[in-house]
């Protein structure tokens, strides 16, 4: 995938909606947090500072941006390039606040494994996304006799920028995201499942980050991808940005302002090549929520805050055909460095989603991008104050 704009054009064409539409303001100049000098935590990142630093993990976006009111999309995360149904990866889901429609929860809890890619999308699109994923996967060679499949599909509510009740997501969008998924750099911001999301009153979206432990701690990588759509008291690197607040510009009426409160949601996908089983992954996933908290969230009532974690390590994969699995697992005692890593990577992935997202006009109004020109001087002053 050359760049995300061409990917998006592909989708529009595929959907037969190739008429002129208002393109989002994709100023390529918006930097990632670290490029702007904002460093979260102490651990080094992987080479691309992205979930795809975990070898084999691929990400694909389909952006659904149509007319004045359709601002949604889907993001696919594939744990490895092989046959997921037959080479399952251990997985766990942790729920910070269960106000959300994440599909597949109970089977992952029972069997401790993923057998499909993960999809993220907008709230009212989850069921069609799941149906499309199932159709796509059942049509693969070797799946002819499979009659059950547990798709894992998460969502946040993009209903301010997107005419969510129109349920515009279609199967071809899902297939597109799955088919173009790549282990290359992950596009961030207002793209894929992040097309219409809002975070802290600013444009949110997709963000990613990674951490790599040194060899003495196992040399493992933890990668995180988020779909940010929540709120609270925006805090970057520990600094609460109380004086940088979005003006509310209502397009149609008094109530038509972007979500003012913390309501909304965040979906967090955690990948690692550390050999963890589902219990250890559950422990890892639980820590990601601490990273959310550090950005100023208190997981408000209406916020669906979910973490899905999986391990790509070959020594923990499960073939459906054998009566026994040989595993090489990390011990409980080896987990703490991974916990540090996931907290840092989650916080930075969220900040990246805000830094990279661009001002977007949509269904019920306009949501501005985080004004880096105001934010960065504030953060630099704080850094200068440190010793």
């Amino acid at each position: 995938m050359a760049n995300w704009r061409s990917a998006w054009l592909l989708v529009v064409v595929a959907c037969g909606a190739a008429q002129a539409v208002e393109l989002p303001d994709t100023s390529v100049e918006r930097p990632r947090a670290r490029e702007a000098g904002v460093v979260i935590g102490l651990l080094p990142t992987g080479p691309r500072n992205a979930i795809v630093d975990v070898p084999g993990v691929a990400v694909g976006h389909a952006t659904v941006f149509e007319g004045d009111a359709i601002r949604t999309g889907v993001t696919a995360i594939l744990p490895h390039p092989g046959d997921l149904y037959r080479e399952r990866v251990p997985a766990a889901i942790v729920i910070g606040n269960g106000y959300g429609k994440l599909l597949g929860v109970s089977q992952v809890a029972e069997l401790g494994e993923l057998e499909t890619p993960i999809l993220l999308t907008g709230t009212l699109g989850v069921w069609r996304a799941a149906d499309a994923l199932v159709g796509w996967q059942l049509a693969k060679p070797g799946m002819e006799e499979v009659r059950s499949l547990n798709p894992v599909v998460g969502e946040t509510n993009d209903g301010y920028l997107n005419d969510i009740r129109a349920r515009p997501l279609r199967a071809e969008h899902v297939v597109h995201a799955l088919e173009i998924a790549s282990t290359d750099n992950v596009q961030e911001g207002a793209i894929g499942a992040g097309t219409g999301t809002v975070a802290f009153g600013w444009k949110g979206g997709i963000g990613t980050s990674s951490r790599r432990l040194d060899e003495g701690q196992g040399g493992h990588t933890v990668g995180v991808l988020v779909q940010s759509n929540y709120g609270g008291r925006l805090t970057i690197g520990g600094m609460a940005l109380d004086d940088v607040r979005p003006e509310r510009t209502a397009s149609r009426g008094a109530n038509d302002v972007p979500p003012a409160t913390g309501d909304g949601s965040i979906m967090i996908v955690v990948a690692t090549d550390a050999p963890l089983d589902d219990r250890l992954l559950r422990r890892l996933a639980a820590r990601a929520l601490l990273g959310v908290g550090r950005t100023g969230s208190s997981m408000s009532n209406g916020s669906g805050d979910y973490v899905i974690a999986f391990s790509t390590a070959r020594e923990v994969r499960r073939s459906g055909d054998t009566a026994r699995h040989a595993q090489q697992l990390l011990s409980n005692e080896s987990m703490s460095p991974l916990f540090d890593a996931v907290v840092e990577a989650t916080e930075e992935a969220i900040i990246n989603s805000l830094f990279r997202a661009t001002t977007t006009r949509g269904h019920r109004g306009n949501v501005p991008a985080l004004p880096l020109e105001r934010v960065l001087p504030r953060l630099r002053r704080a850094v200068d104050a440190a010793p």
Copy 2:
């Protein structure tokens, strides 16, 4: 709804598939368990011995029976006739074995309430069913500004009798089941979500039962509806029927026999008019699994065994518009009689599903009805042996 056959014809017509098909053997003579003298437990039933004995609860089926291979359907359970979104009922979900795709689990756990009807259907139809339910409910008057909804849709795998990979369920089936839902008698057996299910190697399906506590214990009713599709060592009223086993008749090949093992699933819906909150409902739901165990199940690996419980009592309903809810709750100490009731009603609902289901031929073969002519003499001898 006059009788289920005409309801079924309605559906077939609605689907434009009104050509001649092999009708299921709906011998009206097949009795319910209690009509045949098989009495489960000690407590009295409600007047109809059905989930609709809980005032306000309605049930609707849409049967999708097309050609040689489509044997599926959907069953809708509506907790009350009002606006469920604005008059929510407390609810809880308990998972015996989480191998299944029940949608809506995490939000029910977090918020402790239902805001939509419950649907049951076949495994690969859950996502379309949920999508259709959402469309139906969002189109209702007063729902114009609603942008999030948490449908609860369960499933069992009807992939032996039904060409499940064809995913034949369509939105109109779901709407039909919702629209015709009635507080009258519940049709049982090979109907609705039970059209293609198999239990203990025999034809399973929908079954229902109820219990009513005496006034000294509160006078509450507990109603249960099941979609039976699981297995084990079939046990009726405590008697294991080891010598009454279905012959396996493969229609197409050596593997084409009905599920021999306990794999499959059971969905259990529990309704009560006792004023219970979500915690007390979770406690109630957990006991329903004991009723499953009494029929000979050990909740095998591939069996998704789920219980969804809700209370219809007005004093525990929740309006979304108020900051406070007044509640009148039963105490923990008052729960034990309800626990007895739900165990008995679940066991009897399952037996009813087997007694009422009729021999069905479908996609991969033929599944016989439980041969009552062999079973009943066995059970009568046991009863005669009792004092």
Copy 3:
């Protein structure tokens, strides 16, 4: 241990309470269920039909029977004869009804392992039992630097036969049970933690049973030990014994009758040599509750119904000293025969606890043993009625 009566005498002497007390009626003639022709389920038992059929598992009882009113004790279950702190076994706890004081729950859930033996005792004795267990284990060689330990101690309420408020359990009782624990036959009935318990209005206590899978299913053994102290509608082998009910003989006043309701509790310990991790053990433990249900329980409000399961397989043990564990685990798909085994063994262990327990007089009255002379003819008639 030669026989349980001499073990009991040891304890009494150790406690300096060797004056004459009313000995329980330990008629050696009371058979186990299977010896009396009552066969539960279809699977074969292990050689001793006891939890000690799982190699390495040891059980020890200390019976505290003093004066007219002290009827309690402690039962210790040791997963293997080695250093449990350094060779931990995977474990899981499942809660049917959480009305109970089982200690150690949260750490077992988090870390998925046992690092101490398991103790069972009476309700108000759990804390002293745990304290004594910790003292015993910390005093072992090699434990000098250990400053944290997670004892797992369960209980049921023996407060009818036992003057529970006197809290008579002492550290030496606990040490005795741990020290004499043996891999030989397990004594059942009114002994150890079962000294003062009541089940279905009859004298309950300790019971055990096992199942052994054939080699084609892995050849694994599942062993169960219960402390029965609950109630419901007593059902043996599927037959409800409504006409065999204890007369209530109050010793001191109108309220001084044995528990009439299902309140009470049951503690269930499940051991297996199948290589299971904590998630698979959690799945196994959940099924044990179905065995409880088959005996007529609906897990009443006041009944604390807990299952603790562990695996003794060497290939899943965890040394605290290594960063990685190699494991050989059963697959999800291999679990169903183990599920059948644990349901059957739990049901039979409960029946054994009733068959072996003897009439006991204590603090608030007398609790008769289950009258086998009335029960067995009833069960035989039912068996004769079967084909």
Copy 4:
């Protein structure tokens, strides 16, 4: 209680250990965070900025400081001054990381209520503390017929400063903490259960804080009390204090340094007068962990991070004598301000525990107090950098 030093003397005298011991450095000058100008969050505090701002809540400490090596204690939190057994308060426990011995977990989860005060103490003292609490409560008037009680006792590991294996806690310490519990100001720092704890390599201990919502949001108070004994990257008000690190001074050998890692634990008690049931309290408790995360924790493997929350509102109390409870509950939608409150109060309570704790020498060495003279200038510079 005039001041904590005299309270401590009381205990020492009560224990017959009144010989001269090295008193802790209780420089009365150490301020609370807010007194030193460190303000956490945006919401106003209650009048005393303490858990006792929730009307009726009382706190009592017993400090066990004996010789060179005994540095432990117990802290009691009483939800209201009445008969807790008969006027139970709704309660919930949330586990961030379950490496810990918190007693009472499963019954609180099942019944959703507290029936005893809460105790905090050192790890190996929990069982004796629970036993003493039970004895104390069973001896109260009106408790003569009570034969079951579920004490809730938490712990963190004070095994660096305290000779934890000596298990010095005795019943009289527990009774003392319960009897002197007061609704007055709460003493913080190295006192009670905080006597021997270590946080971030500095002396930790007891800390407390509160928040009060304005009347428009219900006017409710949320109070938090912590026992801090964990670690990570110390962060105060968002500022990571990487350059303020304790020197490790080993007293006896290379390994005798205070815990360098995040291992340890934190116990958090949350009280509120908002009318919440156990589910809403569970939601509230889950947010407290975000406050822990903001101080720099990633909930390391060995850290037992627990939250116990209860509501004192009269309209949700439960009498054991009635078949029904009338409740006035907050709605889900009213919870978000309370979530903000608990995150802020938890973070501030932790900072208070560090600000108030004093340098303590004990079993294996010396743990310095957080050097406020270095920390405060750092924090002031950061505040000055803000707009």
